[in-house]
Amino acid sequence: MINKKFDIQSARDLTGWAYTEMKWPSESEAKEATRKRNTLLQSISGKVTSHYNGNKISTGLLSPGCMTCGQGTWSCLFVGSLCTAHCFYCPQDRKDKKDRPPMESGILFDNPDDYVGYLEKFKFRGVGFSGGEPLLKFKEILAYIKKIKERLGKGIYVWVYTNGDLADEKKLSALKEAGLNEMRFDIAARKYDLKGVARATAIIDKVTVEIPAIPEDYDIVKRCLPRLEALGVAHLNLHQLHASQYCYKQFAARGYTFLHQPEIAILESEMTALSLVKYALDHNIGLPINYCSLIYKHRLQKKGYRKRYQAFTQEGYEGATESGFIRRLSIQDTPVNLKKMVKVFRGKDCRDSLWSFNKNGSELLVHHSLLKYIDFNKQGLFLTYFMPQLSPERDEDFELSKEIALNGNRNIFVGKKLVYQLKLKDPVTINSFQKLFIEKKDFPDVIKKFYQNYTLKTKAEITDMMGEKERLDYLQTWEFIGSGLYEIY
Protein backbone atom coordinates (compact mmCIF):
# COMPACT_ATOMS: atom_id res chain seq x y z
CA MET A 1 0.00 0.00 0.00
CA ILE A 2 2.77 2.41 0.95
CA ASN A 3 5.12 3.22 -1.88
CA LYS A 4 8.17 4.79 -0.28
CA LYS A 5 10.00 5.54 -3.50
CA PHE A 6 6.94 7.35 -4.82
CA ASP A 7 6.32 9.23 -1.56
CA ILE A 8 9.92 10.38 -1.29
CA GLN A 9 9.95 11.54 -4.89
CA SER A 10 6.59 13.33 -4.45
CA ALA A 11 7.84 15.08 -1.31
CA ARG A 12 10.95 16.19 -3.21
CA ASP A 13 8.84 17.43 -6.12
CA LEU A 14 6.40 19.17 -3.82
CA THR A 15 8.97 20.97 -1.71
CA GLY A 16 11.52 21.62 -4.46
CA TRP A 17 14.73 23.19 -3.25
CA ALA A 18 13.28 23.53 0.28
CA TYR A 19 13.51 19.73 0.70
CA THR A 20 17.12 19.95 1.82
CA GLU A 21 16.26 22.68 4.35
CA MET A 22 13.64 20.52 6.00
CA LYS A 23 14.39 17.88 8.62
CA TRP A 24 13.31 14.40 7.50
CA PRO A 25 13.79 11.38 9.75
CA SER A 26 16.92 9.31 9.29
CA GLU A 27 16.52 5.55 9.21
CA SER A 28 17.41 5.21 12.88
CA GLU A 29 15.19 8.15 13.89
CA ALA A 30 12.28 6.63 11.96
CA LYS A 31 12.82 3.32 13.71
CA GLU A 32 12.93 4.97 17.12
CA ALA A 33 9.83 7.08 16.39
CA THR A 34 7.97 3.97 15.19
CA ARG A 35 8.91 2.18 18.38
CA LYS A 36 7.68 5.10 20.50
CA ARG A 37 4.45 5.37 18.53
CA ASN A 38 3.84 1.62 18.82
CA THR A 39 4.34 1.88 22.58
CA LEU A 40 1.82 4.73 22.74
CA LEU A 41 -0.68 2.88 20.56
CA GLN A 42 -0.27 -0.25 22.65
CA SER A 43 -0.90 1.72 25.85
CA ILE A 44 -4.25 3.02 24.53
CA SER A 45 -5.25 -0.13 22.67
CA GLY A 46 -8.62 -1.48 23.80
CA LYS A 47 -9.56 1.91 25.23
CA VAL A 48 -9.97 3.75 21.92
CA THR A 49 -12.24 3.14 18.96
CA SER A 50 -10.77 2.67 15.55
CA HIS A 51 -12.73 4.11 12.61
CA TYR A 52 -12.61 3.84 8.84
CA ASN A 53 -10.10 1.04 8.34
CA GLY A 54 -8.00 2.14 11.30
CA ASN A 55 -7.44 5.56 9.69
CA LYS A 56 -8.88 7.38 12.70
CA ILE A 57 -8.89 6.71 16.41
CA SER A 58 -11.02 8.27 19.09
CA THR A 59 -11.98 8.01 22.70
CA GLY A 60 -15.77 8.08 22.83
CA LEU A 61 -18.04 9.01 19.98
CA LEU A 62 -17.21 11.13 16.95
CA SER A 63 -19.19 14.27 16.26
CA PRO A 64 -22.02 13.65 13.75
CA GLY A 65 -20.16 16.09 11.51
CA CYS A 66 -16.98 14.00 11.63
CA MET A 67 -19.04 10.96 10.77
CA THR A 68 -20.29 12.60 7.58
CA CYS A 69 -16.65 13.33 6.74
CA GLY A 70 -15.67 9.67 7.18
CA GLN A 71 -18.67 8.55 5.16
CA GLY A 72 -17.79 10.93 2.33
CA THR A 73 -20.98 12.97 2.62
CA TRP A 74 -19.48 16.19 3.97
CA SER A 75 -19.25 19.43 2.04
CA CYS A 76 -16.86 22.12 3.23
CA LEU A 77 -17.72 25.58 1.97
CA PHE A 78 -14.83 28.03 2.23
CA VAL A 79 -16.82 31.22 2.62
CA GLY A 80 -13.88 33.62 2.46
CA SER A 81 -10.11 33.68 2.74
CA LEU A 82 -9.47 36.55 5.15
CA CYS A 83 -8.79 35.90 8.82
CA THR A 84 -8.54 37.81 12.08
CA ALA A 85 -5.67 35.67 13.32
CA HIS A 86 -2.21 34.88 12.00
CA CYS A 87 -1.38 31.36 13.18
CA PHE A 88 2.05 29.90 12.46
CA TYR A 89 0.43 26.61 11.43
CA CYS A 90 -2.09 28.03 8.95
CA PRO A 91 -1.72 26.15 5.65
CA GLN A 92 -3.21 29.08 3.69
CA ASP A 93 -1.56 32.15 2.20
CA ARG A 94 -2.07 34.82 4.88
CA LYS A 95 -0.17 37.41 2.87
CA ASP A 96 -2.95 37.46 0.30
CA LYS A 97 -5.16 40.33 1.44
CA LYS A 98 -7.74 39.89 -1.28
CA ASP A 99 -10.82 38.04 -0.08
CA ARG A 100 -12.08 35.10 -2.11
CA PRO A 101 -15.74 34.23 -2.72
CA PRO A 102 -17.41 31.07 -1.33
CA MET A 103 -15.86 28.01 -2.97
CA GLU A 104 -16.22 24.26 -2.66
CA SER A 105 -14.03 21.82 -4.62
CA GLY A 106 -13.05 24.54 -7.06
CA ILE A 107 -16.64 25.61 -7.71
CA LEU A 108 -17.90 29.09 -6.93
CA PHE A 109 -21.07 29.11 -4.84
CA ASP A 110 -21.97 32.74 -4.29
CA ASN A 111 -25.66 31.96 -4.19
CA PRO A 112 -27.26 29.84 -1.41
CA ASP A 113 -29.81 28.39 -3.86
CA ASP A 114 -27.09 27.01 -6.12
CA TYR A 115 -25.22 25.60 -3.13
CA VAL A 116 -28.30 23.86 -1.73
CA GLY A 117 -29.00 22.46 -5.22
CA TYR A 118 -25.47 21.06 -5.18
CA LEU A 119 -25.91 19.56 -1.69
CA GLU A 120 -29.15 17.96 -2.81
CA LYS A 121 -27.88 16.62 -6.12
CA PHE A 122 -24.86 14.88 -4.59
CA LYS A 123 -26.66 13.74 -1.43
CA PHE A 124 -24.53 15.50 1.17
CA ARG A 125 -25.41 14.90 4.83
CA GLY A 126 -23.09 17.43 6.47
CA VAL A 127 -21.92 20.97 5.78
CA GLY A 128 -19.02 22.79 7.43
CA PHE A 129 -18.37 26.49 6.90
CA SER A 130 -14.68 27.26 6.86
CA GLY A 131 -12.42 30.10 5.80
CA GLY A 132 -10.28 32.21 6.62
CA GLU A 133 -12.34 33.17 9.62
CA PRO A 134 -15.90 32.27 8.61
CA LEU A 135 -17.53 34.72 11.03
CA LEU A 136 -16.08 37.59 8.96
CA LYS A 137 -18.82 36.48 6.53
CA PHE A 138 -21.46 36.18 9.20
CA LYS A 139 -24.39 37.50 7.16
CA GLU A 140 -23.60 35.22 4.26
CA ILE A 141 -23.25 32.16 6.50
CA LEU A 142 -26.57 32.95 8.11
CA ALA A 143 -28.24 33.11 4.69
CA TYR A 144 -26.69 29.79 3.63
CA ILE A 145 -27.70 28.03 6.84
CA LYS A 146 -31.27 29.32 6.63
CA LYS A 147 -31.56 28.12 3.05
CA ILE A 148 -30.00 24.73 3.82
CA LYS A 149 -32.31 24.12 6.76
CA GLU A 150 -35.35 25.43 4.91
CA ARG A 151 -34.82 23.09 1.95
CA LEU A 152 -33.08 20.07 3.47
CA GLY A 153 -34.46 20.21 6.99
CA LYS A 154 -33.05 18.13 9.81
CA GLY A 155 -31.48 15.63 7.42
CA ILE A 156 -28.36 17.70 7.14
CA TYR A 157 -25.89 18.51 9.90
CA VAL A 158 -24.35 21.97 9.84
CA TRP A 159 -21.38 23.42 11.66
CA VAL A 160 -19.14 26.48 11.55
CA TYR A 161 -15.41 26.70 12.27
CA THR A 162 -14.12 29.75 14.11
CA ASN A 163 -11.10 31.04 15.99
CA GLY A 164 -13.56 32.61 18.41
CA ASP A 165 -12.58 36.25 17.81
CA LEU A 166 -16.01 37.24 16.50
CA ALA A 167 -18.13 34.66 18.27
CA ASP A 168 -20.28 37.02 20.34
CA GLU A 169 -23.60 36.14 21.92
CA LYS A 170 -25.63 37.89 19.25
CA LYS A 171 -24.03 36.01 16.37
CA LEU A 172 -24.15 32.67 18.19
CA SER A 173 -27.84 33.13 19.00
CA ALA A 174 -28.64 34.04 15.40
CA LEU A 175 -26.76 30.99 14.12
CA LYS A 176 -28.60 28.78 16.60
CA GLU A 177 -31.88 30.31 15.46
CA ALA A 178 -31.01 29.59 11.83
CA GLY A 179 -30.56 25.91 12.67
CA LEU A 180 -26.79 25.57 13.26
CA ASN A 181 -25.98 22.21 14.86
CA GLU A 182 -22.39 22.71 15.99
CA MET A 183 -19.67 25.33 16.50
CA ARG A 184 -16.02 24.33 16.27
CA PHE A 185 -13.43 26.50 18.00
CA ASP A 186 -9.75 26.61 17.20
CA ILE A 187 -8.62 27.79 20.61
CA ALA A 188 -4.94 27.39 19.63
CA ALA A 189 -5.36 30.51 17.51
CA ARG A 190 -5.82 32.62 20.67
CA LYS A 191 -3.55 31.03 23.26
CA TYR A 192 -6.24 28.60 24.42
CA ASP A 193 -8.58 31.33 25.59
CA LEU A 194 -11.85 29.60 26.51
CA LYS A 195 -14.15 32.62 26.72
CA GLY A 196 -15.70 32.06 23.27
CA VAL A 197 -16.16 28.37 24.00
CA ALA A 198 -17.86 29.14 27.31
CA ARG A 199 -20.19 31.57 25.60
CA ALA A 200 -21.08 29.09 22.88
CA THR A 201 -21.79 26.13 25.15
CA ALA A 202 -24.60 28.16 26.71
CA ILE A 203 -26.20 28.77 23.31
CA ILE A 204 -25.27 26.12 20.70
CA ASP A 205 -26.34 22.47 21.06
CA LYS A 206 -22.90 21.09 20.39
CA VAL A 207 -19.55 22.80 20.81
CA THR A 208 -16.36 21.15 19.65
CA VAL A 209 -12.82 22.28 20.14
CA GLU A 210 -10.77 21.57 17.05
CA ILE A 211 -7.07 22.36 17.22
CA PRO A 212 -3.83 21.24 15.67
CA ALA A 213 -1.72 19.09 18.00
CA ILE A 214 1.16 21.50 18.67
CA PRO A 215 4.10 19.82 20.41
CA GLU A 216 5.06 22.93 22.45
CA ASP A 217 1.48 23.26 23.71
CA TYR A 218 1.16 19.74 25.10
CA ASP A 219 1.07 20.90 28.74
CA ILE A 220 -1.38 23.74 28.08
CA VAL A 221 -3.79 21.42 26.28
CA LYS A 222 -3.42 18.85 29.06
CA ARG A 223 -4.47 21.51 31.56
CA CYS A 224 -7.35 22.55 29.32
CA LEU A 225 -8.88 19.08 29.13
CA PRO A 226 -10.78 19.05 32.46
CA ARG A 227 -11.89 22.63 31.85
CA LEU A 228 -13.27 21.78 28.42
CA GLU A 229 -15.13 18.85 29.94
CA ALA A 230 -16.53 21.04 32.72
CA LEU A 231 -17.66 23.66 30.19
CA GLY A 232 -19.72 21.02 28.40
CA VAL A 233 -17.56 20.81 25.26
CA ALA A 234 -18.81 17.80 23.31
CA HIS A 235 -15.63 16.79 21.44
CA LEU A 236 -11.97 17.58 21.12
CA ASN A 237 -10.59 17.11 17.62
CA LEU A 238 -6.83 17.01 17.42
CA HIS A 239 -5.33 17.51 14.00
CA GLN A 240 -1.92 16.52 12.80
CA LEU A 241 0.02 19.55 11.58
CA HIS A 242 0.12 19.80 7.81
CA ALA A 243 3.12 21.40 6.14
CA SER A 244 2.09 23.53 3.21
CA GLN A 245 4.22 25.96 1.22
CA TYR A 246 2.91 28.73 3.50
CA CYS A 247 3.85 27.26 6.87
CA TYR A 248 6.74 24.85 6.35
CA LYS A 249 9.31 27.53 7.20
CA GLN A 250 7.72 28.17 10.59
CA PHE A 251 7.69 24.41 11.19
CA ALA A 252 11.34 24.10 10.19
CA ALA A 253 12.21 26.98 12.55
CA ARG A 254 10.56 25.05 15.39
CA GLY A 255 12.71 22.03 14.59
CA TYR A 256 9.81 19.79 13.59
CA THR A 257 10.40 16.58 11.66
CA PHE A 258 8.68 16.37 8.29
CA LEU A 259 7.31 13.04 7.13
CA HIS A 260 7.24 11.54 3.66
CA GLN A 261 3.54 11.03 3.07
CA PRO A 262 1.23 11.84 0.18
CA GLU A 263 0.79 15.16 1.99
CA ILE A 264 3.59 16.30 4.25
CA ALA A 265 2.86 15.77 7.91
CA ILE A 266 4.70 16.56 11.13
CA LEU A 267 5.95 13.68 13.23
CA GLU A 268 5.96 15.46 16.60
CA SER A 269 2.35 16.54 16.07
CA GLU A 270 1.18 12.94 15.77
CA MET A 271 3.12 11.99 18.91
CA THR A 272 1.57 14.93 20.77
CA ALA A 273 -1.95 13.96 19.72
CA LEU A 274 -1.47 10.34 20.76
CA SER A 275 0.13 11.41 24.05
CA LEU A 276 -2.87 13.64 24.79
CA VAL A 277 -5.24 10.76 24.06
CA LYS A 278 -3.24 8.60 26.47
CA TYR A 279 -3.20 11.34 29.12
CA ALA A 280 -6.98 11.75 28.90
CA LEU A 281 -7.53 8.02 29.24
CA ASP A 282 -5.05 7.68 32.13
CA HIS A 283 -6.79 10.52 33.98
CA ASN A 284 -10.35 9.39 33.28
CA ILE A 285 -11.20 12.53 31.35
CA GLY A 286 -14.51 11.76 29.70
CA LEU A 287 -14.21 14.34 26.91
CA PRO A 288 -14.27 12.39 23.61
CA ILE A 289 -11.03 12.99 21.72
CA ASN A 290 -10.68 12.35 18.01
CA TYR A 291 -7.24 12.15 16.42
CA CYS A 292 -7.52 13.38 12.86
CA SER A 293 -4.27 12.43 11.14
CA LEU A 294 -3.22 13.91 7.85
CA ILE A 295 -3.27 10.50 6.23
CA TYR A 296 -6.90 10.05 7.32
CA LYS A 297 -7.78 13.25 5.48
CA HIS A 298 -5.82 12.28 2.42
CA ARG A 299 -7.36 8.84 2.24
CA LEU A 300 -10.95 9.33 3.40
CA GLN A 301 -11.77 12.86 2.31
CA LYS A 302 -10.37 12.31 -1.16
CA LYS A 303 -12.07 8.95 -1.45
CA GLY A 304 -15.35 10.60 -0.46
CA TYR A 305 -14.87 13.22 -3.16
CA ARG A 306 -14.19 10.63 -5.87
CA LYS A 307 -17.01 8.29 -4.82
CA ARG A 308 -19.48 11.14 -4.92
CA TYR A 309 -18.91 11.84 -8.60
CA GLN A 310 -17.97 8.34 -9.73
CA ALA A 311 -21.53 7.13 -10.31
CA PHE A 312 -22.09 10.03 -12.72
CA THR A 313 -19.16 9.12 -14.96
CA GLN A 314 -18.68 5.35 -14.75
CA GLU A 315 -19.65 3.28 -17.80
CA GLY A 316 -21.12 -0.21 -17.61
CA TYR A 317 -17.86 -1.82 -18.76
CA GLU A 318 -15.77 0.05 -16.18
CA GLY A 319 -15.17 -0.73 -12.52
CA ALA A 320 -14.77 1.37 -9.40
CA THR A 321 -11.85 0.88 -7.08
CA GLU A 322 -12.11 0.87 -3.29
CA SER A 323 -10.48 4.30 -3.28
CA GLY A 324 -13.04 5.73 -5.70
CA PHE A 325 -11.07 5.80 -8.95
CA ILE A 326 -12.65 4.43 -12.12
CA ARG A 327 -10.79 1.46 -13.57
CA ARG A 328 -11.00 0.67 -17.26
CA LEU A 329 -9.66 -2.57 -18.73
CA SER A 330 -9.04 -2.96 -22.43
CA ILE A 331 -7.49 -5.13 -25.12
CA GLN A 332 -5.83 -3.79 -28.24
CA ASP A 333 -5.82 -5.95 -31.35
CA THR A 334 -7.06 -5.99 -34.92
CA PRO A 335 -10.78 -5.22 -35.28
CA VAL A 336 -11.26 -8.76 -36.66
CA ASN A 337 -9.72 -10.42 -33.59
CA LEU A 338 -11.61 -8.14 -31.21
CA LYS A 339 -14.90 -8.96 -32.92
CA LYS A 340 -14.11 -12.64 -32.43
CA MET A 341 -13.79 -11.94 -28.71
CA VAL A 342 -17.14 -10.22 -28.64
CA LYS A 343 -18.63 -13.28 -30.34
CA VAL A 344 -17.34 -15.35 -27.42
CA PHE A 345 -18.94 -12.92 -24.93
CA ARG A 346 -22.26 -13.13 -26.76
CA GLY A 347 -22.01 -16.92 -26.80
CA LYS A 348 -21.74 -16.77 -23.01
CA ASP A 349 -24.87 -14.57 -22.79
CA CYS A 350 -22.95 -11.56 -21.49
CA ARG A 351 -24.79 -8.23 -21.54
CA ASP A 352 -23.81 -5.82 -24.34
CA SER A 353 -23.22 -3.03 -21.80
CA LEU A 354 -20.22 -4.95 -20.47
CA TRP A 355 -18.02 -4.09 -23.44
CA SER A 356 -17.49 -1.33 -25.95
CA PHE A 357 -15.17 -0.52 -28.86
CA ASN A 358 -13.13 2.62 -29.26
CA LYS A 359 -13.78 4.80 -32.30
CA ASN A 360 -11.64 2.93 -34.82
CA GLY A 361 -12.43 -0.51 -33.47
CA SER A 362 -8.83 -1.29 -32.44
CA GLU A 363 -9.50 -1.36 -28.71
CA LEU A 364 -12.08 -3.39 -26.87
CA LEU A 365 -13.06 -2.06 -23.45
CA VAL A 366 -14.17 -4.92 -21.24
CA HIS A 367 -15.76 -5.32 -17.85
CA HIS A 368 -13.63 -7.33 -15.43
CA SER A 369 -16.23 -10.12 -15.36
CA LEU A 370 -15.28 -10.90 -18.99
CA LEU A 371 -11.56 -11.39 -18.37
CA LYS A 372 -12.10 -15.11 -17.85
CA TYR A 373 -13.05 -15.45 -21.54
CA ILE A 374 -9.82 -13.86 -22.81
CA ASP A 375 -6.61 -15.77 -23.48
CA PHE A 376 -3.85 -13.64 -21.99
CA ASN A 377 -1.14 -15.85 -23.42
CA LYS A 378 -1.95 -14.01 -26.66
CA GLN A 379 -3.03 -10.60 -25.31
CA GLY A 380 -1.80 -7.91 -23.00
CA LEU A 381 -4.20 -6.07 -20.73
CA PHE A 382 -4.38 -2.29 -20.70
CA LEU A 383 -5.36 -0.62 -17.42
CA THR A 384 -6.50 2.96 -17.28
CA TYR A 385 -7.46 4.77 -14.09
CA PHE A 386 -9.62 7.85 -14.09
CA MET A 387 -10.34 10.33 -11.37
CA PRO A 388 -13.97 11.47 -11.20
CA GLN A 389 -14.11 15.18 -10.62
CA LEU A 390 -16.12 18.35 -10.67
CA SER A 391 -15.62 21.32 -12.90
CA PRO A 392 -17.39 24.69 -13.16
CA GLU A 393 -17.38 24.40 -16.95
CA ARG A 394 -16.89 21.78 -19.62
CA ASP A 395 -13.29 20.65 -19.23
CA GLU A 396 -11.43 19.54 -22.33
CA ASP A 397 -9.13 17.35 -20.25
CA PHE A 398 -12.09 15.26 -19.14
CA GLU A 399 -12.71 12.13 -21.12
CA LEU A 400 -16.37 12.49 -20.46
CA SER A 401 -18.13 15.57 -19.22
CA LYS A 402 -21.70 15.48 -17.99
CA GLU A 403 -23.66 18.60 -17.36
CA ILE A 404 -25.51 18.54 -14.06
CA ALA A 405 -28.28 21.03 -13.42
CA LEU A 406 -28.29 22.30 -9.83
CA ASN A 407 -31.45 24.28 -10.45
CA GLY A 408 -33.07 26.17 -13.30
CA ASN A 409 -30.19 28.68 -13.46
CA ARG A 410 -26.99 26.89 -12.61
CA ASN A 411 -25.15 23.94 -14.13
CA ILE A 412 -21.85 22.32 -13.21
CA PHE A 413 -19.90 19.53 -14.87
CA VAL A 414 -18.82 16.12 -13.65
CA GLY A 415 -16.20 14.26 -15.60
CA LYS A 416 -13.29 11.90 -15.37
CA LYS A 417 -9.66 12.66 -15.93
CA LEU A 418 -7.06 10.06 -16.89
CA VAL A 419 -4.58 9.71 -14.06
CA TYR A 420 -2.66 6.53 -14.84
CA GLN A 421 -2.29 4.06 -17.65
CA LEU A 422 -0.34 0.84 -17.88
CA LYS A 423 -0.08 -2.26 -20.02
CA LEU A 424 0.35 -5.60 -18.31
CA LYS A 425 2.00 -7.98 -20.75
CA ASP A 426 2.76 -11.10 -18.81
CA PRO A 427 -0.08 -13.62 -18.25
CA VAL A 428 1.11 -14.34 -14.68
CA THR A 429 1.04 -10.62 -13.88
CA ILE A 430 -2.43 -10.30 -15.39
CA ASN A 431 -3.64 -13.24 -13.36
CA SER A 432 -2.13 -11.71 -10.20
CA PHE A 433 -3.79 -8.39 -11.00
CA GLN A 434 -7.18 -10.13 -11.16
CA LYS A 435 -6.59 -12.01 -7.93
CA LEU A 436 -5.40 -8.90 -6.07
CA PHE A 437 -7.75 -6.22 -7.27
CA ILE A 438 -10.83 -7.92 -8.67
CA GLU A 439 -11.13 -10.95 -6.42
CA LYS A 440 -9.44 -9.11 -3.51
CA LYS A 441 -7.36 -12.12 -2.45
CA ASP A 442 -4.73 -11.91 0.25
CA PHE A 443 -1.78 -9.84 -1.02
CA PRO A 444 1.17 -11.95 0.26
CA ASP A 445 -0.44 -15.18 -1.00
CA VAL A 446 -0.96 -13.78 -4.49
CA ILE A 447 2.54 -12.32 -4.63
CA LYS A 448 4.02 -15.61 -3.50
CA LYS A 449 2.24 -17.39 -6.36
CA PHE A 450 3.34 -14.63 -8.74
CA TYR A 451 6.99 -15.28 -7.85
CA GLN A 452 6.50 -19.02 -8.08
CA ASN A 453 4.79 -18.97 -11.48
CA TYR A 454 6.41 -16.11 -13.36
CA THR A 455 8.22 -17.56 -16.39
CA LEU A 456 11.95 -17.28 -15.77
CA LYS A 457 14.36 -18.78 -18.23
CA THR A 458 17.38 -16.57 -17.72
CA LYS A 459 18.71 -14.53 -14.84
CA ALA A 460 18.21 -11.40 -16.91
CA GLU A 461 14.45 -12.00 -16.72
CA ILE A 462 14.53 -11.57 -12.96
CA THR A 463 14.75 -7.81 -13.54
CA ASP A 464 11.59 -7.97 -15.67
CA MET A 465 9.83 -9.97 -12.97
CA MET A 466 10.80 -7.47 -10.27
CA GLY A 467 9.57 -4.66 -12.52
CA GLU A 468 6.21 -6.40 -12.96
CA LYS A 469 5.97 -6.88 -9.20
CA GLU A 470 6.69 -3.19 -8.68
CA ARG A 471 3.87 -2.37 -11.11
CA LEU A 472 1.46 -4.55 -9.14
CA ASP A 473 2.58 -2.79 -5.95
CA TYR A 474 2.04 0.62 -7.48
CA LEU A 475 -1.47 -0.26 -8.65
CA GLN A 476 -2.49 -0.36 -4.99
CA THR A 477 -2.22 3.43 -5.04
CA TRP A 478 -5.27 3.54 -7.31
CA GLU A 479 -7.06 0.52 -5.93
CA PHE A 480 -7.01 0.75 -2.14
CA ILE A 481 -7.17 3.58 0.38
CA GLY A 482 -4.87 1.99 2.92
CA SER A 483 -5.34 1.44 6.62
CA GLY A 484 -3.91 2.58 9.92
CA LEU A 485 -1.50 5.38 10.69
CA TYR A 486 1.18 5.96 8.08
CA GLU A 487 4.59 4.36 8.22
CA ILE A 488 7.17 6.78 9.60
CA TYR A 489 10.01 7.63 7.21
Binding site: K4, K5, E27, P444, I447, K448, Y451, Q452, L456, K457, T458, K459, E461, I462, M466, K469, Y489
Partner: protein, 103 residues
Protein backbone atom coordinates in the same frame (compact mmCIF):
# COMPACT_ATOMS: atom_id res chain seq x y z
CA UNK B 1 19.94 -8.01 19.32
CA UNK B 2 21.86 -10.63 17.35
CA UNK B 3 20.68 -14.18 17.86
CA UNK B 4 23.24 -16.82 18.71
CA UNK B 5 23.38 -19.74 16.28
CA UNK B 6 23.58 -23.07 18.04
CA UNK B 7 24.19 -26.37 16.36
CA UNK B 8 21.33 -27.93 18.31
CA UNK B 9 18.81 -25.61 16.69
CA UNK B 10 16.50 -26.64 13.87
CA UNK B 11 15.95 -24.15 11.06
CA UNK B 12 13.37 -23.92 8.31
CA UNK B 13 12.88 -21.71 5.29
CA UNK B 14 10.63 -18.76 6.07
CA UNK B 15 7.13 -18.67 4.56
CA UNK B 16 7.98 -15.23 3.27
CA UNK B 17 10.47 -16.45 0.70
CA UNK B 18 10.14 -17.96 -2.76
CA UNK B 19 13.01 -19.99 -4.23
CA UNK B 20 13.42 -20.16 -8.01
CA UNK B 21 16.09 -22.20 -9.83
CA UNK B 22 17.62 -20.38 -12.80
CA UNK B 23 20.83 -21.16 -14.63
CA UNK B 24 22.19 -23.46 -11.90
CA UNK B 25 21.55 -20.96 -9.15
CA UNK B 26 18.71 -20.82 -6.68
CA UNK B 27 17.44 -17.28 -6.30
CA UNK B 28 15.72 -16.49 -3.03
CA UNK B 29 13.05 -13.84 -3.32
CA UNK B 30 11.71 -12.25 -0.14
CA UNK B 31 8.03 -11.47 -0.52
CA UNK B 32 8.03 -8.10 1.25
CA UNK B 33 10.63 -5.88 -0.29
CA UNK B 34 11.38 -2.82 1.71
CA UNK B 35 13.42 -0.43 -0.37
CA UNK B 36 15.21 0.89 2.67
CA UNK B 37 16.03 -2.55 3.90
CA UNK B 38 19.08 -3.63 1.97
CA UNK B 39 18.94 -7.06 3.59
CA UNK B 40 15.71 -7.77 1.73
CA UNK B 41 17.25 -7.90 -1.73
CA UNK B 42 17.38 -11.06 -3.81
CA UNK B 43 19.89 -13.64 -2.65
CA UNK B 44 21.52 -16.19 -4.94
CA UNK B 45 22.66 -19.59 -3.73
CA UNK B 46 25.58 -21.19 -5.53
CA UNK B 47 25.60 -25.00 -5.99
CA UNK B 48 27.46 -25.55 -2.70
CA UNK B 49 24.98 -23.38 -0.76
CA UNK B 50 22.07 -25.14 -2.47
CA UNK B 51 23.16 -28.44 -0.94
CA UNK B 52 22.85 -26.91 2.53
CA UNK B 53 19.66 -24.99 1.70
CA UNK B 54 17.86 -28.16 0.64
CA UNK B 55 18.45 -29.65 4.06
CA UNK B 56 17.05 -26.70 6.02
CA UNK B 57 13.55 -28.13 6.19
CA UNK B 58 12.76 -27.74 9.84
CA UNK B 59 13.43 -31.37 10.71
CA UNK B 60 17.12 -31.87 11.44
CA UNK B 61 19.36 -29.87 13.74
CA UNK B 62 22.39 -28.09 12.30
CA UNK B 63 24.57 -30.64 14.10
CA UNK B 64 22.86 -33.49 12.21
CA UNK B 65 22.99 -31.61 8.89
CA UNK B 66 26.72 -31.01 9.35
CA UNK B 67 27.23 -34.68 10.18
CA UNK B 68 25.25 -35.82 7.13
CA UNK B 69 27.15 -33.51 4.78
CA UNK B 70 30.52 -34.44 6.25
CA UNK B 71 29.76 -38.12 5.66
CA UNK B 72 28.30 -37.54 2.20
CA UNK B 73 31.09 -35.34 0.87
CA UNK B 74 33.91 -37.01 2.78
CA UNK B 75 35.19 -33.61 3.80
CA UNK B 76 36.80 -32.38 7.04
CA UNK B 77 34.00 -31.59 9.55
CA UNK B 78 35.43 -28.12 10.30
CA UNK B 79 35.12 -26.95 6.69
CA UNK B 80 31.52 -28.06 6.29
CA UNK B 81 30.57 -26.61 9.67
CA UNK B 82 32.06 -23.24 8.77
CA UNK B 83 30.11 -23.14 5.49
CA UNK B 84 26.83 -24.20 7.12
CA UNK B 85 27.09 -21.69 9.96
CA UNK B 86 28.04 -18.86 7.60
CA UNK B 87 25.08 -19.55 5.31
CA UNK B 88 22.59 -19.90 8.17
CA UNK B 89 23.86 -16.66 9.69
CA UNK B 90 23.38 -14.80 6.40
CA UNK B 91 19.94 -16.29 5.78
CA UNK B 92 18.79 -15.43 9.29
CA UNK B 93 20.03 -11.88 8.87
CA UNK B 94 17.94 -11.61 5.71
CA UNK B 95 14.94 -13.18 7.46
CA UNK B 96 14.91 -15.98 4.89
CA UNK B 97 15.25 -18.63 7.57
CA UNK B 98 13.50 -19.23 10.87
CA UNK B 99 14.54 -21.11 13.94
CA UNK B 100 11.80 -23.66 14.59
CA UNK B 101 13.12 -25.44 17.66
CA UNK B 102 16.10 -26.47 19.68
CA UNK B 103 16.79 -30.14 20.32
Amino acid sequence: MKKQITKDAVYAVSDGVVARKIENEIILIPIDIDIRDKESELFALNPAAQVIWKRLKGKKSLKDIIADLTAEYNSPAGVIEKDVIALVKELLKRKLLLEVSKN
